[in-house]
Subunit: 138 residues, 2 copies
Amino acid sequence: MPRRSNTFVKTRQDHANETAEDYVEAIGDILETQPTCRVKDLSAKMGVSHVTVTRILQRLSAERLIDKDPYGPCTLTRKGAAMAKRSRRRHQLLLDFLLHIGVPPTDAARDAEGMEHHVSDATLSVMRAVLQEDSNRR
Amino acid sequence: MPRRSNTFVKTRQDHANETAEDYVEAIGDILETQPTCRVKDLSAKMGVSHVTVTRILQRLSAERLIDKDPYGPCTLTRKGAAMAKRSRRRHQLLLDFLLHIGVPPTDAARDAEGMEHHVSDATLSVMRAVLQEDSNRR
DNA sequence: ACCGACATGTAGCATGGGCTACATTTTAGA
DNA sequence: TCTAAAATGTAGCCCATGCTACATGTCGGT
Ligand SMILES: [Mn+2]
Ligand SMILES: [Mn+2]
Ligand SMILES: [Mn+2]
Ligand SMILES: [Mn+2]
């Protein structure tokens, strides 16, 4: 059980999940537009070297979030797909909210990428409510 | 000049500033409630060992954000005070916004601590506008 | 003035995420 | 089918942020 009464400690714990969340989400995105997801695809998408991707994929594989053979493409496990789905929903909801209140799309996209990992379910619920309320209003 | 067209790269760059922002802000907070800020105060506030604090303070000192002598307390330089002020304003505005839309205080406090480092000026402006508009409305 | 408690510093280790340089495997074209 | 280019993996480095264990400095009470 993580103790997280201290907000700084909580933020550092969130950072630990951040890479995994972004990568499984990215893998999911890639697999929607093409049949396989390879190291070079992720390297391009994340803006890092193939070496960094390889090491991170090894960790994701050890954590049973992805399946991957040497020199092969990678796929999401059940667990990985579940994390990707959750991450994507949260990312999208946050992005929709920022756009809704009037943040320019380019800024909203950048902000959402970093903020998403620190938004609690409580805040997401409120954002969802605001979006729904205002869509009913018109 | 940082290239930040890639949102993932942008987020990683934001993380680099995060520690400095949190520490100068924390030092500023502490110096408002007591005459000096010592390693043990920061260790308690950030939830890390005194060793971690010492090393980070060495870096902040090298970056001219704080003044500190061995075994002495630390103070903010002009530069550090400016960063602290900016960080605190941003933190407070984000927190106010979250509370305004109805996020429970405990969640809002935790979320703001992590989100603050990824909120652009564009988004902050929008949040400020929402707060002002709704305060006029009543 | 001394000494013990407390604060701070240092040594050394771990993990994670960057990188370049080099090795190996795959794959596609001639 | 060979072979060169592309993709991937490995070695080994950097830096940041954690930690424990141990060393040293500071300071207050007797
Ligand atoms: Mn995302
Ligand atoms: Mn992200
Ligand atoms: Mn803050
Ligand atoms: Mn923070």
